[in-house]
């Protein structure tokens, strides 16, 4: 029997749970714990034995022996069953981290979220492009074939931008993270993809935008993109891309 067992149990074991060897005399007072325990034990033993079989066949031995089992256990332990860092290490990093003073809070900055790349608010869907206009500057056109079949309707709004002061249409009473400008979203096109100069900015031609299923809410939002040449997208001013005046990086915290 393949160590399929219960997917639930497997998933947990993959995450590195406590391994143990079955002890025949042990019983919990509650049925479901007994069952989980039995399943987990069985799955652990089976995994180890299968690994041992692989090792022994790799070493061209005729049968599995204790050394193979030991090796299998050791490999599994190193890989899955990690324990939290030791105390002195924790005290050390705590001392380091606690030395820096608490950063001051910028006033009136709207929703206080980390830089965009540390958030989960970016679009990660891509729709199949409908127009195949050839761009004169681009050498190759790779029309993305990725079609998001599951989504028939339009994707929901992904980019959340801090509206700059002048584009805020609602007073700062509301600290909503959603951009309230009615402008079209300009999506940054990564330079690896080819671009298509869209002649009609009004048609919902979406390109190179990825889907994030978790962001597909009950209401989908139309995204219109203005196709721009992708070569210099880095400085593309996306009014909706939240910028922090200071560095985007907190790496030297």
């Amino acid at each position: 029997m393949a160590p399929g067992g219960s997917a639930h149990v497997n998933a947990e074991w993959e995450k590195g749970m406590v391994p143990f060897r079955a002890f025949p005399g042990w019983r919990f007072h509650c049925q479901s714990l007994n069952l989980i325990l039995k399943k987990a034990v069985w799955w652990y033993v089976t995994t180890i034995l299968e690994d041992a079989k692989i090792y022994s066949s790799h070493a061209k031995k005729s049968s599995v022996d204790a050394d193979d089992v030991r090796l299998a256990i050791q490999c599994r332990t190193d890989q899955s069953f990690t324990s939290p860092p030791p105390r002195d290490f924790l005290l050390d990093i705590a001392r380091q981290k606690n030395q820096t003073p608490l950063p001051l809070i910028k006033p009136y900055s709207g929703p206080r979220l980390p830089p965009d790349r540390y958030c989960l608010t970016a679009p990660n869907y891509r729709l199949k492009s409908l127009q195949k206009k050839v761009s004169s500057s681009a050498g190759r056109i790779t029309v993305p074939r990725l079609s998001v079949g599951a989504v028939s309707s339009r994707p929901s709004t992904p980019t959340l931008g801090t509206p700059s002061a002048q584009t805020v249409s609602v007073s700062t009473k509301v600290g909503t993270p959603v951009s309230l400008t009615g402008q079209r979203f300009t999506v940054q096109i990564p330079s690896s993809q080819a671009t298509v100069k869209s002649a009609t900015p009004t048609t919902p031609t979406v390109q190179n935008v990825l889907i994030n299923p978790s962001l597909i809410g009950p209401k989908n939002i139309l995204i219109t993109t203005n196709m721009v040449s992708s070569q210099n997208t880095s400085s593309e001013s996306n009014p909706l891309k939240r910028k922090h005046e200071d560095d985007d990086d907190y790496d030297n915290l």
């Binding site: 749970m17 143990f20 007072h29 030791p86 979220l113 609602v170 009950p218």
Partner: protein, 727 residues
């Protein structure tokens, strides 16, 4: 001042005794020249009486089993989920304690390396453990221990209670030494002989210890390593200490004296030796008690001043509350809360001690609403108990793991074991999300009800489900402005959700192990999380890395709470201590020991002076933060206390527990007449009156629904929440 001065003990490399392996032909004459028959220790009657005594001492009767189940079995290679039990596995009803059971099953702090595989040590681990090198003949360990036992039993009554504190740490360290040096049979017989003499509240630890029989078992066990490196703190009066020292030093082989010097920290105080009752109240944690200087730092426990603003009167205000306004002339009522005292409270932190976000207009509106509600608040007391409204989660199938309610009681969130987070609206007003960007451009932005217009009515529903976590959600917390929701989960992340769009905004990755609890600061912007990696972290919503790391606990951090002034964080842990941390510099300013089980609930009193803690031992302990003392003990619950909450003005303390009850305690009475004379504060000893019965105002039972969360509304109605479990 560092968190706790922890110097690893000197590594003493002693050559193993070459004769250690072979049993000596003739046992050497016993050091004390008396028969070594075990005598019941006076003051510690065995058997049935110990059960009763333990009950009066407040520990759970089930833990007084005469022999741990494991010890009777052949412990060869069996390390099971018992190691994970910082609770009581034998008693654990899985249905009623899903969170605990999950922890038991999945996250232990040890594992077996079966079959005798020797994993290569990291150098620091072996250095740490090598201090357990052989320092004496293993067969004599029982002699040493029983000799000490005899000495202590024969000592004067007043000293006996204090010196008895030595038994447990000595027992554990001697056992670990035997195990480390691979004298399995000696270790086993040592354990068999003496484990029954230990205090009942250590039985859980002993059960874990009994399954540690090989050297390899010790290596991965973080808690054991921490136990070994951090010195076990004992507080003994000077007279008792002199007695002990004289006795140990006059013996020829001072093996025990070596252990005492290496592994124990004896905090000597001048004064009367403590009684058994006093000692029992304070011991129980994995590291002994707290050193006196650990609790001496100044703590600003006062509240921050609320800003003054005018509370506009409108027509809804009853004339009863408004003394000065006449119907014709409506003067705006000044917010009286802030203007009570112009002088700075000496115990309150300066306003700018830690940076706090400034008040937005919506926050000011909220505060005005708060003041209005406060005016209509019911004044609670022993003769006026709150009404309790219980929200039962049906069909949760033992999956409800976390609950939170907003401050204005408008929304309730449940975190579940299937990794979903579900938000319900408590009021008839449904939950709506914001309109799409295209629609938003069409609304009139200058209208007065723009906040209503941005909401999309088509998305209105009573329930919103948030998907994103990949493991059970163990903690949830609303932000004070009700814009954000935090959830922490077994997958090691803390997620920030927007309550306007009901989508996930950020995932904070720092703990790589389950995060057991999280909470927003009372002013928003900061939040704290505590997890299996034994640290609590302070985050700000706009930093993807934590701002502070609070390291010092010996076991998982199970509960984290902010102080009302947002300058301090209390953490309760599975090592049975509660620590108070300073947000400004990350120092541990208070250590409270006394619980006999992992702590699962914390509550600060609204005036910021006191802290109430609840644990698996069923006791609620009350602490004075300023002095660092235990000031009360509330006994009554028979199972883990998962919810604690003070009423809005601090008159009543409500506690909810796994035993399906909500109990109300008189907080005002509990905190009055504190003995805070100099002697008490200097030595930290307080005589706790046995007044739990007097303080108990009421016990309210549910129909087999453990209470997971308690919340007092702004008008002092008590809301409680739990999931119905049919067992």
């Amino acid at each position: 001042m560092a968190a706790l001065p922890e110097e690893p003990a000197e590594v003493v490399a002693v050559k193993p005794d070459p004769d250690a392996g072979t049993p000596p032909q003739q046992p050497p004459p016993p050091a004390w020249g008396r028969p070594r028959a075990a005598r019941p220790r006076a003051g510690q009657p065995t058997g049935a009486e110990s059960g009763e005594r333990c009950q009066s001492g407040g520990c759970f009767p089930q833990t007084c089993a005469p022999s741990p189940l494991m010890a009777a079995q052949d412990a060869e290679g069996f390390l099971c989920v018992l190691h994970l039990s910082r609770g009581r596995v034998s008693h654990c009803a899985f249905a009623s304690s899903f969170r605990l059971a999950y922890k038991l099953l999945l996250y232990g702090n040890t594992f077996a390396v079966g079959g005798g595989v020797v994993v290569e040590d990291q150098p620091d681990v072996s250095a740490v453990l090598s201090a357990y090198n052989q320092q004496g003949d293993p067969t004599l360990y029982e002699e040493y221990y029983s000799g000490l036992k005899h000495f202590i039993e024969c000592s004067l009554d007043c000293h006996r209670a204090e010196l008895s504190q030595l038994f447990y740490p000595l027992f554990v360290h001697m056992y670990l030494e035997l195990v480390y040096n691979q004298h399995e049979s000696e270790a086993k017989s040592f354990f068999e002989r003496f484990h029954g003499d230990q205090e009942c509240y250590y039985q859980d630890d002993l059960r874990v210890l009994s399954s540690l029989t090989k050297k390899e078992h010790m290596k991965g066990n973080e808690t054991m390593l921490d136990f070994r490196t951090s010195k076990f703190v004992l507080r003994i009066s000077r007279d008792s200490y002199q007695l002990l020292k004289r006795h140990l030093q006059e013996k020829q082989n001072n093996q025990i004296w070596n252990i005492v010097q290496e592994h124990l920290y004896i905090d000597i105080f001048d004064g009367m030796p403590r009684s058994k009752q006093q000692i029992d109240a304070m011991v129980g944690s994995l590291a002994g008690e707290a050193k006196r200087e650990a609790n001496k730092a100044k703590v600003f426990f006062g509240l921050l001043k609320e800003p003054e603003f005018d509370v506009p009167l409108d027509d809804e205000d009853d004339e009863g509350e408004n003394e000065e306004g006449k119907p014709k002339k409506k003067k705006p009522k000044k917010d009286s809360v802030g203007s009570k005292s112009k002088k700075q409270d000496p115990n309150a932190p300066p306003q700018n001690r830690i940076p706090l976000p400034e008040l937005k207009d919506s926050d000011k509106l909220d505060k005005i609403m708060n003041v209005k509600e406060a005016a209509r608040r019911v004044r609670l007391g022993p003769d006026c108990l709150p009404s309790i409204c219980f929200y039962t989660f049906l069909n949760a199938y033992q999956g409800l793991t976390a609950v939170d309610i907003t401050d204005d009681s408008s929304m309730i969130v449940g975190g579940f074991a299937d990794s979903t987070v579900r938000v319900w609206s408590v009021t008839p007003k449904k939950l709506r999300s914001v309109k799409t960007a295209a629609d938003l451009s069409l609304i009139d932005k200058e209208s007065d009800d723009v906040l209503e217009r941005i909401m999309d009515e088509k998305t209105a529903s009573e329930l919103k489900i948030l998907y994103g976590h990949s493991g059970p959600v163990y903690g949830t917390s609303f932000s004070p402005d009700r814009n954000y929701l935090l959830s922490c989960s077994e997958d090691g992340t803390v997620r920030l959700w927007s309550l306007q769009t009901f989508t996930c905004l950020v995932g904070y990755k720092g703990h790589n192990y389950p995060v057991w609890d999280t909470q927003f600061s009372p002013y928003g912007y900061y939040f704290v999380s505590g997890g299996h990696d034994r640290v609590a972290r302070l985050w700000a919503t706009d930093h993807y890395q934590p701002l502070r790391i609070f390291a010092g606990h010996l076991a998982d951090v199970t509960c984290t709470r902010f102080h009302p002034n947002s300058n301090y964080i209390a953490t309760g842990s599975a090592d049975r201590t509660v620590r108070l941390w300073d947000v400004l510099n990350g120092n541990c300013v208070r250590i409270f020991t006394g619980h006999k089980g992992p702590i699962h609930s914390l509550a600060f009193s609204p005036n910021g002076r006191f802290l109430a803690t609840g644990a698996t031992d069923g006791r609620v302990l009350l602490w004075d933060i300023g002095h660092g003392l235990m000031v009360g003990e509330l006994k009554g619950h028979t199972d883990t206390i998962y919810a604690l909450r003070f009423s809005r003005d601090g008159e009543i303390l409500a506690s909810g527990s796994m035993d399906n009850t909500v109990r109300l305690w008189d907080a005002v009475k509990a905190f009055e007449d504190l003995e805070t004379d100099d002697f008490t504060t200097a030595t930290g000893h307080i005589n706790l009156p046995e007044n739990s019965q007097d303080l108990l105002l009421g016990t309210y039972m549910t129909k087999s629904t453990p209470v997971v969360h308690l919340h007092f509304t702004r008008r002092n109605l008590l809301l409680a929440a739990g999931a119905y479990s049919s067992q």
